[in-house]
Structure formats: C-alpha cells, structure tokens
C-alpha cells in the first residue's frame, strides 16, 4: 500500500510542472499587461511614464527566457511571487481566500452526496417507478441548467420572494450565507451523482454474484447492504472525486455571482488586470487541489477494492 501511495504521489509532480509551464507560456503571449490594464476601464488617461515604471519594477521588460528562469527558480522554492496589483505575496492572497473556497466546495459536495447518492440508489432499486423517472428528469435538468441562471433563480425565490436567506455575500461566514451558493454549485454534481449511482447500482444488481446471493436465500436488505453498496461504491467514489476536485475551478462563476470571497473571484479579477503572478499561483493551486483529490480517490479505491492496487 505504501509503494502504491508513493507512486501515485510522485505522478502528481510532472503534471504540476507541465501545468506551470503551460500557464507561463499562455500568459506570456496573451496581449495586454498589468500596467496598461490600469487604464483599460476608460476612467483615466494612459500614463506612459507610469507604464514604463511599472513594467520596469515587475521585470516585464526583461527577455522572456530570463523571466521564465526566474519563474521556475521561484517555483522550485515554493515561492509564487508577489502580486502586481496588491504588492503582497501571492501565497498570502490565496490563503486569505482558500478557506472560503473550501467551505463552498465542501458544502456543495456534501449537498450533492447527501441528496444525489440516495436518490440514485432508490431510483435503481425501483427502475421505471415514478421516483426513478422523476429523479432522472431532475438529474438531466440539473446537468443542463446554467449555474449563473440557476443562482439568480434561487436568489429571486429564497431571498427576494420568501426572504428566508441573504441573496449575496459572505456575511459572518454563517450557514445562512452559504446555503444559496452551495446549492447552486452543488446541483450539477448532484445530478451527475444521481445518474452515476443509479447506473452503477443497476449494473451490480444485474451481476451474477447478486443472483447467486439471492439464490442462497440472502435477504434483499442484506444483498443491498453487503454486495450492491460496496460494489457500486467504486463508481460513486470516482464521480465524487472528479467532481470534488473540479469544484473549486467551477466555483468561479458562482463566487462572482454571490460575491463569495473565494479564489475563483480572485482569479477572474487577476486575469482581467493581467496580475500574472496571482493568475499563475491561483491556477496552480486549483490544479494541485484537483490532483490531490484524485490521488486521494485512487487511494480510497485501493482500500475499497484491492484488485486496483494489484493492477
């Protein structure tokens, strides 16, 4: 198990390196610089002297290769650089926002698991029933709803019409502020989980070993608990892992909409004003998060199903 764990962790490193290089190359060729973006909103006339001073200060006048070497060297020392915009270390900016992002992602995933998995399970146990049909229609709707529109709909309903919840903001970090953004973010993974669980459970239910268990006289409840659940779990864990890993990245729109102070909104702002160190750092953290979750999922697989470890 230890070798398996180490091997999976080591596989993360080259992915991070490739992503880091890609980010550097992409943001080196896109037009626009931080200094020029200060004037892009049309609120003030361009100041060539300031542009020159800022380009000089941030080393943007240096040759691409020299900047690349600096970037890689800093990265090797786990130094994500200093924000052009705030002049604070990128690590500080990300850590200021990471808590809110994790809070939102975890809440959205919990919502998706708690609702989606049981629904998918029940739908599979009664295929063709009203519950099954309703769940699947709901799942398809959930997958096809644009996040932005669904969020506005929830705001309109629960804040403006019913006045139960605040429509935006972090407030004091309480559950009331978290509910609407978490439900909005969680609805797509919920739908996917419900569909995946249903498919996984149906697949297991039709397997030979289930028929064998039934023929041995095992009760329906025991069959579901001992055989179906455990075998369907691999597919569910895979889906949960993939969805959870990508939620922080997907939260960008939701964070903007609900004025939620996560790293998604930090990323959007930073791209718009070409605060490259923050863009690079934030994307790296999002990618790293995805890789960590997936590695964790692989390890969980191995624990659930020893055949995976042997493969």
């Amino acid at each position: 198990m230890l070798r398996f764990t180490l091997r999976r962790i080591l596989q993360v490193a080259p992915t991070v390196v490739v992503v880091a290089l890609l980010i550097f190359v992409i943001f080196s060729v896109v037009p626009g610089t931080f200094a020029v973006s200060l004037f892009a909103d049309g609120k003030r006339a361009a100041d060539p002297q300031l542009i020159a001073r800022l380009n000089e200060e941030f080393g943007l006048n240096k040759p691409l290769m020299e900047r690349f070497v600096t970037y890689v060297t800093d990265l090797a020392r786990f130094d994500l650089g200093t924000s052009f915009r705030t002049r604070q270390p990128v690590v500080d900016l990300i850590s200021d926002r990471m808590g809110a992002s994790l809070q939102l992602s975890v809440a959205a995933m919990v919502f998706a698991i708690v609702v989606g998995v049981p629904l998918g399970f029940l739908a599979a146990l009664r295929p063709g029933s009203i519950l099954d049909t309703t769940t699947m229609i709901g799942a398809i709707s959930g997958l096809s709803l644009p996040d932005f529109w669904f969020g506005l709909l929830l705001m309109y309903l629960f804040a403006l019409q019913l006045n139960w919840l605040p429509s935006f903001g972090y407030g004091d970090g309480s559950l009331r502020n978290l509910i609407l953004p978490a439900v909005t973010l969680g609805v797509a993974p919920l739908a996917l989980l419900a569909r995946t669980t249903r498919a996984g459970v149906l697949d297991v239910l039709n397997a030979d070993f289930i028929r064998t268990a039934h023929s041995k006289g095992m009760s329906e409840a025991k069959v579901v608990r001992w055989h179906v659940s455990r075998n369907a779990l691999v597919l569910i864990v895979t889906t949960v892992g993939l969805q959870f890993g990508s939620l922080i990245g997907q939260a960008v729109v939701i964070e903007k909409l609900f004025a939620w102070p996560g790293i998604g909104s930090l990323l959007v702002d930073s791209v718009a004003i070409r605060d490259i160190p923050v863009v690079q750092g934030t994307i790296l953290v999002i990618v790293l998060w995805f890789l960590i979750i997936n590695t964790a999922v692989d390890l969980v697989y191995a624990a659930i199903d020893p055949r995976i470890k042997q493969e």
Binding site: R87, Y170, S265
Partner: protein, 530 residues
C-alpha cells in the same frame, strides 16, 4: 436638444440637494456597494489608481483638496485657506489645526511632505506620482535625480508652501485618492495595506478579502457634527444581476445601474423616484488612426460623424443612459459649449464629403472594440448598417478590455471604440489633443492642429477662470470640427438608492463615489440599518 440635456443635468443636481435639505439624523449602518470588481486590490490607496479603492479612500482618508459635487470644482479640504502668489505658482496653505489622524497624531505640514514624497518615490512606482509632478522639482525626484521635492517647503507645523510648475489649479491633481495624506509617524509602511490610518470621517474596522470593508464613525473627525452614520459596510458586488436582486431585497442601500436596469427601474413606481443621475466626465468615441490613409482626410472623419445616427443608438441601444456628445468636453465641464450643435445625422452630406475626399466608392476599416455594452462591440455592430449606406464597410475586431488598452496605447489600430476621461479639469482633458502629447499618453488619434495648440497654450497661461474657459471652449470646438473621433456620447451615470438614504450628491467625476460624511439614514430604514 442640448438645452434639454443641460436641464436634465441640473434637475439631477436638484434631486441630490433636495435630499440634503431635510433634517439630518445620526446613527445607523449604510450598506454601500463597490461595483467595479470582486476585490479590493489594496487598502493602501496611494498605491492604487482603481475606482474600486476610491470607496475606501473616501471613507478613511482625506487629501489636501476634495471634489465639491455641488460647485462642480475642487475645493480646499485639509487647509482652511491659501494665499497664492501673483504669478499663480506659489500657494501657501494654512492647514486645519483640528485635523487628527485615526492614530491620534495631529495633522502637520510634515505629513503632507512625507505623503507626497512617498507617492513620488521612484522605488514605489505609485500611480499618483504623475499628480505630484505638478509640484516644482517633483519630476527630478520621480526620476531619481533629486533627494527632495524642491517645491515643498514647511513654514511651520500648520503652514505649507508649495511651488507649482505653472499657474495651474492644483486642486485637480491634489484631490485624487492616490494623493491622500498619511501620517508621517508610522514606522512600518507596509501596514498601510492592512490597517489604513487616515484623516477621514470613518476608522478602518475590518477587511474580509473578496467580501467587504467595514468602517466605523471617527469621533474626532474635524467637521463638527459629522459623520452622521455609525458604520458603513462597503460591500463588493460586481455582478449587475445579483446587485439588482440585493437592492430590491433591501440588502444594499445603493446600486449603480446599467442601461437595461435603468430602463426597468424607470418603469417601476417604487423605484423610479429614487434614481440619481449625472453626466459623468467620460466621453465615448471611436478614435481614428491618421496613419490609416482615409483617416488622414478631415472630410472622411466628418463624413463618418454625419453618417451615424447617434441619438438613435443612444436611445435604442444605450437606453438613454447617455447624452449624445457634441464635442470632446462633457456637459458638466465648465468649458462645455451649450450652443455648439452636435454633428447632425445627414447621410447625403456624408456621401458628398466622401466623394470630395475621393472615396465615393467607400472603403473598409476595422474597429478594435471590447465587449462593453455601452462602448464596445454592440455599438460597432449598430453603426455597421449606417456606414454601409454611405459605402463604408466596418469590421469589428473584438478584444478583451486589457488588450484594447494595449492596442490603443501602442497605436496598433485603424480605429478603436473606448470611454475616455474628459474631465473634470478641462485643461487636462484637452491636453490630450496637444500636438506635443505623445500618442501613447492620451493623444491616441495623434491629433495635431497649430490653431488648437495656440489656444491651448493661451488657456494654460490664463488665470481668470472665465477667460480660460472661453479659450478652452474655442479649442474644443476646433477639435469637434476636425473630428479626430466619432463623438458618440457622454456617460450618464445612474445610481438607485433606497428611500431612507439622504445626502447623496451628483458626483460628475464618479457617481459611485459619494461623500460618506454627508450621508444619513432616516427612521424609515429597516431595523438592522437604523
């Protein structure tokens, strides 16, 4: 038409001043929105040129001058009076003796000298350095050639002498949020970015990155009886649609409206009486690059102005959330010429001018544009059929906002559409058309006209405000006649506010930035706000 527009601007002024006339009430919490993004870059406002940080600056800090939205001009803020030398270059400021920083330090001339040195320090590369450059010797200091700014001289603790590079009105430069005054006794300058200390009516309380800044009433503020509010939550809300719901749900007290919301709010009885409007100091234009052969000819540029039905676009597409432009200087400018008519919509005249210029068969050009709904690709798409009728083919070149800035400041365009500041200082706004102003600064259309230069230089030396405005008005009319741009519109900024909010003013420099110490909340506010 223009008389009607001016009347509209004056009426909006009336809305605000009417609000000020009622009996002020102390106490309460104002939930104000900062709509330009989803974060504050820094709390060190000297370091940031963004509008977003102006919300913080307005609450916590004070500069030597401030903008008076009612008088529509900069006024002394931290000085009770000033003496000006005969040649207009030396100003002696008699500073307030009751202004105290939030850390308890009284304001002295040393704080102003310290702040201006910090802003101009070449190592900092702060955006406000260009404003400090109006002080004699600042250019050398910024360039690292001098150790002091020679134009700054402390007479005593409460008397400061500043020598300027010319007989300018320094208020326009020294009222900016990037030129606010910090205390000179703070040892660790990096603390300004986390725990700002200022002279303003509100003390910094809390910053939740990406969410809000909370400030509370400063009991030792120098304006007696102010501020009225106990607390302000300056909340980040960049999304128009979300802001709309939050405003209707009474979670926020003010909201800046876009064209679609403006139209919707005007149609609702509960909302239409609580809109504050002002002609802001931004002019939206399509700028022409004279290195593109057809644009070298003034008749071609004029033809484009005649060929486009500007009022129709303002009405249908911008939902009347703008005033059609009649020239460069906006309605709120002291040098605005209310008698100068805008280019009329006259396709026949446009065709005749094109034929005279040798382009009877038309030509094709590209307009670099951002996605902005009021001055971007949608506007370019609207002019396509109009210009097609006179034989000109236009192709929009969509780019992202930052890339637009890059293209325009580097001259890499045939034409571009943008919103450009045209005030509040008319002298500074028209400087962009001076032949010596580099293209990369703000002379984006590489404009050069000796007649304009002569008038501008005369205005620059003129100390009588009326005569100066008259010279600038003439210069502005020359620009209009030369048509280096298509004059599209002046922004009409619109702010919706809750009925319990009073003291908002029609700030033409940026409506979203309000003098918080003037705002008060009446007893009809929800319990949580009172």
């Amino acid at each position: 038409m223009l008389k009607r527009l001016t009347l509209a601007a004056m009426l909006s002024l009336g809305v605000a001043t009417g609000a000020l006339a009622a009996g002020e009430r102390h106490g309460g919490t104002l939930v104000f929105t900062a709509p330009y993004g989803s974060s504050f870059a820094t709390l060190d406002v000297q370091a940031s040129p963004n509008t977003q940080e102006e919300f913080i600056a307005q609450a916590i800090h004070r500069a030597l001058y401030s903008w008076d939205s009612i008088q529509n001009k900069p006024v002394l803020e931290l000085a009770r009076s000033e003496d000006v030398s005969e040649d207009g270059t030396v100003h002696t400021y008699h500073l307030r003796d009751n202004a105290i920083f939030h850390n308890g330090k009284p304001l002295t001339a040393d704080d102003i000298i310290y702040s201006y040195r910090r802003i101009a320090n070449p190592k900092n590369a702060f955006p406000g350095a260009s404003y400090i450059a109006v002080i004699k010797g600042a250019d050398d200091f910024i360039a690292g050639k001098a150790k002091e700014i020679s134009g700054l001289k402390k007479i005593d603790d409460h008397t400061l002498e500043i020598t300027f590079v010319g007989p300018i009105n320094p208020g326009f430069s020294l009222m900016q949020n990037t030129t606010v005054i910090y205390p000179s006794d703070v040892k660790d300058e990096s603390s300004f970015a986390k725990t700002p200390v200022g002279l303003g009516a509100f003390v910094f309380k809390e910053h939740v990155p990406g969410s809000q800044v909370v400030v509370e009433k400063f009991d030792r503020y120098y304006e007696e009886g102010k501020p009225y509010l106990d607390r302000i939550n300056i909340t980040l809300m960049g999304e128009d649609a979300a802001r709309d719901i939050a405003f209707r749900n009474k979670e926020i007290d003010v909201s800046i409206l876009g064209p679609t919301q403006y139209q919707a709010y005007q149609g609702e009885d509960a909302l239409k009486d609580y809109l504050l409007e002002v002609a802001e100091v931004y002019t939206r234009t399509i700028g022409f690059n004279p290195s593109f052969e057809p644009f070298k000819d003034k008749r071609v540029r004029q033809a484009i102005n005649y060929a486009i039905n500007t009022p129709l676009i303002v009405e249908r597409l911008v939902k009347n959330k703008a005033y059609p432009a009649s020239g460069w200087l906006p309605l709120s400018s002291p040098a605005f010429d209310k008698d100068k008519a805008p280019y009329a919509f006259d396709p026949d005249k446009a065709k005749a001018l094109l034929a005279e210029a040798g382009y009877a068969d038309g030509f094709e050009f590209e307009v670099t544009a951002s996605p902005n709904e009021s001055w971007g690709v949608p506007i370019v798409e609207a002019i396509l059929p109009m210009l097609k009728k006179v034989g000109i083919t236009v192709k929009p070149k969509p780019v992202e906002s930052s890339a637009l800035g890059d293209a325009v400041t580097s001259g890499n365009f045939s034409a571009y559409i943008w919103s450009i500041p045209s005030g509040p200082d008319p002298l500074n706004a028209l400087r962009c058309f001076l032949s010596t102003t580099p293209q990369s600064a703000c002379n984006y259309s590489s404009y050069a006209n000796p007649e304009f230069d002569t008038l501008f230089r005369a205005a620059e030396q003129e100390r009588d405000p009326t005569r100066q405005s008259d010279l600038l008005r003439q210069a502005n009319n020359i620009v209009q006649d030369d048509a280096p741009v298509w004059f599209f519109n002046y922004n009409k900024a619109v702010m919706a506010y809750q009925p319990w909010i009073h003291g908002l003013v029609p700030n033409a420099t940026e409506l979203a930035v309000q003098p918080y110490d003037e705002i008060w909340i009446d007893e009809t506010a929800p319990d949580a706000r009172r």
